[in-house]
């Protein structure tokens, strides 16, 4: 094999030295691809060249041959750099694959089912900006007259955020939602996050509980983006916010609770800052613009509304999300 490579090289070189045509050079280029395929290092190429030249142009002064030895010395580290590069590329491919598997695991972990509640239409969209998401939407309900929803945003992105979130999920699974109520749920999750997450990691969360028996939506917030309440009778938006510290800051944070009554055609939109802080090359998308986008589809089913808002903001950002995007629409029918 090395002998064969040497013979092939010699032939191409001989022809080139005779004609110096572009075709010879093209053959040389094609041959260099073969050399790479055969895993022949730069220093070996010089060595092949030297021995080919000895046959093609014998009788060159000895200093010329020494110069090739010098060139071989020059090429050793290039050869090493190439090998290292190849091994790093391979490692990156492995990591990429691992990330994809992890993202699948996360997807399964974060799967949530929209609860069926009398007179309430629920829709949502959640899209990560990278492979793993730092946003989290959680539904809970008795499939009769009660539905709870949590929208959380872990500060930071990628793997650390995803790991932190799986803990929030297990916290949510273990809480007695209906008995605790929104501020109670946040207190429990806060204690879990505070205990098990390091100091540099914070989570914001908005939690809402809808009771179909009296059409009440009660909510609490842990430093989360305010939700929006659209009042159909007045055709305007009202911000829903409640005082409360981010999750994981202090063991005994308290969470204020608010409540509204939803009328026919009203809806509540809960989102993460990936929605409100959407960035275009010209700057942040204005709040008014976002409200206009939501308004323009207010008569459509909740799922379509959420999808439309996402599609619009995605388009405005050139289809490259800067941050994880999550939006839940709860619409009173």
């Amino acid at each position: 094999m090395p002998q064969q490579t040497e013979n092939e090289y010699k032939e191409i070189l001989r022809q080139y030295l005779e004609d110096q045509s572009e075709q010879n050079l093209y053959m040389g280029e094609a041959f260099s691809r073969k050399l790479i395929e055969r895993d022949i290092s730069p220093e070996e190429v010089i060595s092949i060249h030297k021995s080919a030249l000895k046959d093609v142009l014998p009788g060159l002064p000895s200093k010329v041959w020494h110069s090739f030895d010098f060139l071989i010395e020059m090429m050793i580290r290039y050869g090493l750099a190439l090998k290292e590069h190849q091994s790093l590329v391979k490692r990156q491919e492995e990591m990429q694959l691992e990330m994809e598997v992890a993202a699948k695991v996360q997807e399964t972990l974060l799967k949530t089912k929209i609860p069926a509640v009398e007179g309430m239409d629920v829709g949502y969209v959640t899209v990560p900006s990278r492979i793993m998401s730092g946003d989290y939407i959680y539904f809970v309900g008795n499939d009769k007259d009660e539905a709870g929803v949590a929208v959380a945003d872990v500060m930071g992105k990628g793997i650390p955020a995803a790991l932190c979130m799986s803990m929030v999920k297990f916290g949510m699974d273990s809480v007695r939602h209906s008995a605790e109520g929104p501020s109670g749920v946040l207190s429990v999750i806060n204690r879990i996050v505070e205990k098990s997450v390091n100091d540099s990691m914070f989570v914001t969360m908005m939690y809402g509980l809808y009771d179909a028996k009296n059409s009440t939506f009660s909510y609490a917030s842990a430093g989360h983006e305010p939700a929006l309440h659209y009042r159909a009778s007045e055709n305007r938006f009202v911000e829903l916010d409640a005082k409360g510290l981010l999750l994981g800051v202090s063991q005994d944070a308290r969470y204020e609770e608010g409540a509204i009554v939803l009328e026919r055609g009203d809806f509540v939109a809960i989102m993460t800052d990936g929605v409100t802080e959407a960035r275009t090359p010209e700057g942040f998308v204005e709040k008014e613009t976002i409200l206009e986008i939501i308004s323009s589809v207010k008569d459509r089913p909740a799922q379509e509304m959420a999808e439309h808002v996402f599609a619009e903001l995605d388009r405005m950002q050139g289809f490259r999300l800067q941050d994880d995007f999550s939006l839940v629409i709860l619409k009173k029918e």
Binding site: E73, I76, E84, S87
Partner: protein, 133 residues
């Protein structure tokens, strides 16, 4: 009995002496120009590590003949601080990103066999072997 010779490393110029010794021995074993260059580059790397991190140590070169299989061994030893995390030092991209050159993975690639014995505060012994094919 294998033939072994050595060069003490105290200054940067001793690296040149170690290379010279390695090249002469590699020639005697019968290695070609490319392999000679690889062996001397590995010696450079190991000798420089001694010079930079341990201050002093030695490079020994041994010609090998194991049942008709010929080769050369480079034994780099010092009584320096030892390598705290060998696993890390052997990782690609670890030493090169710090501008230290080919690093340990480079030496391993240039040679056929590679072995590190290190103890914190006691020193390091690295053995690298290349066989003649």
């Amino acid at each position: 009995m294998a033939y072994r010779s050595s060069v003490d490393i105290h200054t940067e110029w001793d690296i040149v002496a170690a290379r010279q010794l390695g090249r002469n021995e590699a020639k005697k074993v019968g290695f070609g120009t490319v392999d000679q260059a690889r062996i001397t580059t590995a010696i450079s790397e190991l000798a420089r590590n001694i010079y930079l991190y341990a201050g002093a140590g030695k490079i020994e070169i041994e010609r090998l003949n194991e049942g008709g299989l010929f080769g050369i061994a480079i034994i780099a030893s010092d009584e320096g601080p030892g390598i705290p995390d060998v696993r890390k030092v052997m990782e690609d991209g670890y030493s090169t990103s710090g501008g230290l050159g080919a690093g340990m993975p480079g030496v391993k690639r240039l040679m056929d066999d590679f072995r590190v014995d290190t103890e914190r505060g006691k020193g390091t012994k690295i053995t690298a072997i290349k066989w003649l094919r």
